[in-house]
């Protein structure tokens, strides 16, 4: 039986009468890398704040570690590392002092807080900034500091709200690799919210797709995308015309634009990135590059959002007709 770390049943949050999260059902199993995916304003951050007891649900039930987060905020926070969307604003503090302060609030003795803080800073590549003032750090460095703060105390549950926001490309890769490293520890549960599909795809194995305050679908990414095979790729080769013909003969839809072939697999070729090199070798074609243009998760996301949009428009139309 699956053990759920977080359970949200019919949870809603209204702010000034407006539903930010509406009748949300979400179950997050222990030990998963879970992605909350959705466009800006989908209610991802509000969902995270509900989970961590920062805000109180207007209605519904929320359990984290089997407890209500709003009324058990202190005991729940012993085991949570949280990265907020906003950057850290202790301008006058040095990075080392900040980590020590946060560590001590987490219940560590002073020396351990300093030592562990230093260790976590090294882990996120911020070790050399220990004596720097936070006010002097760049946006990306502050974001890394936020990740370090979340990792402090080795929490069982790590919640990262837009962890790669305001990071440069190198920083993004660094943080994504770090999160993937954390995934090796199967006892940890990591929840990541993002609106960037490839990042969610890369960092997580479970996903909840959110839009307008509710979960459209959730579960294991492979299971969710099992029936969606029409991945799209951009291919460069020494003989694009011949490659296009071969791919069309395999049941795919291939088109050529300048020297590139754009192919939609139409669910015909499973693991396309593995099959294509073999096809090229067999036919004596030199494969120069293979870039995914749109993957199955993105297809699923767009399908669900457009379905929800259509349903909403239909409802509005019916209401207008009644009036």
């Amino acid at each position: 039986m699956t053990e759920y770390l977080i359970e949200m049943n019919n949870a809603s949050k209204f702010i000034q009468g407006k539903p930010i999260v509406y009748r949300l059902d979400l179950k997050i199993p222990r030990g998963t890398l879970y992605g909350l995916l959705g466009p800006n304003g989908a209610g991802k951050s509000t969902t995270i704040k509900l989970m961590t007891g920062r805000i109180k649900a207007t209605s519904g039930e929320i359990k984290i570690f089997g407890k209500d987060p709003w009324s058990n905020r202190v005991s729940v926070n012993h085991n949570i590392g949280y990265l907020a969307q906003n950057s850290i604003q202790y301008q006058e503090k040095t990075v080392g002092d900040f980590m020590e302060y946060m560590g001590r609030l987490k219940g560590m003795p002073k020396s351990k807080a300093r030592f562990d803080g230093r260790e976590v800073l090294d882990q996120v590549g911020m070790g050399r900034f220990e004596q720097s003032k936070i006010g002097k750090l760049s946006g990306g460095e502050r974001q890394r500091l936020g990740v370090a703060n979340a990792l402090l105390g080795d929490p069982d549950l790590l919640i990262l709200d837009e962890p790669t926001a305001s990071l440069d490309p190198a920083g993004r890769v660094y943080v994504m690799n770090l999160i993937q490293e954390l995934a090796n520890d199967k006892t940890k549960t990591v929840i990541i919210s993002s609106h960037i599909l490839p990042e969610i795809r890369r960092m997580t194995n479970h996903v909840a797709i959110m839009s307008e305050g509710s979960v459209l679908t959730s579960g294991n990414i492979n299971e969710l995308t099992r029936n969606i095979y029409d991945d799209e790729y951009e291919i460069r080769s020494d003989d694009p015309n011949r490659l296009m013909e071969i791919l069309n003969s395999q049941g795919c839809t291939a088109e050529m634009e300048r020297d590139r072939v754009y192919v939609s697999t139409n669910g015909q070729l499973m693991d396309f990135w593995r099959v294509l090199p073999k096809l090229c070798v067999d036919n004596g074609i030199e494969l120069r590059s293979l870039v995914p243009v749109r993957d199955s998760l993105e297809k699923l996301f767009l399908q669900l959002v457009s379905k929800q949009q259509t349903a909403k428009e239909e409802l509005e139309r019916q209401q207008e007709e009644r009036i």
Partner: protein, 282 residues
């Protein structure tokens, strides 16, 4: 064994752990602020300046009639000057303390602190204790210097000596710190209402002005319940403290005054905790 574990989970056994950490943080954060240095100038320079101004007044240790009258007048004037030099400092207290929670909300640092296993009450008490320690650092040395310099100057007993024993000095310090602690607690409460530090500071100053006006108004009316007035308490307590006079029947006891002050402070802090507990961190 499982019952023990369940009991441990229910009881906040680690309660209070964060108070000294937040207290130290509040104290150290203030040391880096400009308003702290302005306060130092006020609390040290202003009383010492007044002391200097009164240094030219003649010291009369003996005499009768008009001489003793002027000596008493001079002494009581000094006491008033001394208290005046601290009580307008209330405005500094408000400026120092009334944005404590509001600025944390404004800078989004409250969310960071509350993201750790810290009770709301630990946060408020920690901040209160931190502010109180700043106050002690600012005021206690100056109070002691002023009192003992007066003592040395008049080197005589009543009515020329402002204080006559160490226990009275300590009691006086407690009184000053307790009254100002009450104002700090009130400022913290105001701070817990607002999201913007500027609004909290302005409301704190306005609140202080209104409370002073109302209490003075009540005190001016002999029929009114002037137990509400701070001035009344001070007028009633000062002679007991400084002149070793027996209190009059209508005057409240020192213990009653302390209890009222402590009760009010606790009340303000409790309301602050309730306000911050209701606060959602968006």
């Amino acid at each position: 064994m499982s019952q023990l574990t369940a009991l441990k989970e229910k009881l906040p056994l680690d309660y209070g752990r964060s108070i000294p950490i937040i207290m130290a943080e509040t104290f150290h954060a203030f040391r880096k602020e400009k308003r702290f240095y302005i306060s130092i100038i006020y609390y040290i320079a202003f009383p010492l300046l007044l002391l200097l101004m009164s240094a030219g007044a003649p010291v009369i240790n003996t005499g009768t009639g008009i001489a003793i009258y002027y000596a008493q007048l001079n002494t009581s004037l000094q006491v008033k000057v001394l208290f005046l030099s601290f009580f307008p400092g209330q405005i500094f207290l408000v400026i120092l303390s009334s944005d404590q929670v509001a600025s944390e909300v404004e800078n989004d640092t409250l969310s960071l602190v509350m993201g750790k296993p810290v009770y709301h009450s630990e946060m408020i008490i920690g901040k209160f204790m931190g502010l109180l320690s700043i106050l002690a650092v600012l005021q206690v040395p100056t109070l002691l210097v002023v009192y003992y310099s007066n003592l040395a100057r008049y080197k005589a007993e009543f009515p020329y000596a402002l204080v006559s024993s160490l226990d009275e000095v300590i009691a006086m310090l407690f009184l000053v710190i307790a009254i100002q602690g009450m104002i700090l607690a009130l400022s913290l409460m105001i701070s817990s209402i607002f999201d913007r530090s500027l609004y909290a500071i302005l409301t704190g100053i306005l609140g202080l002005f209104i409370v002073s006006s109302v209490s003075d108004g009540i005190a001016a009316n002999p029929d009114a319940a002037n137990y509400l007035s701070l001035s009344y308490y001070l007028d009633a307590i000062l002679p007991v403290f400084f002149f070793n006079l027996e209190k009059l029947d209508s005057q409240p006891s020192v213990l009653a005054l302390f209890l009222v002050i402590l009760g009010t402070t606790a009340g303000f802090l409790t309301i602050s905790v309730a306000l911050i507990r209701r606060r959602e961190l968006f």
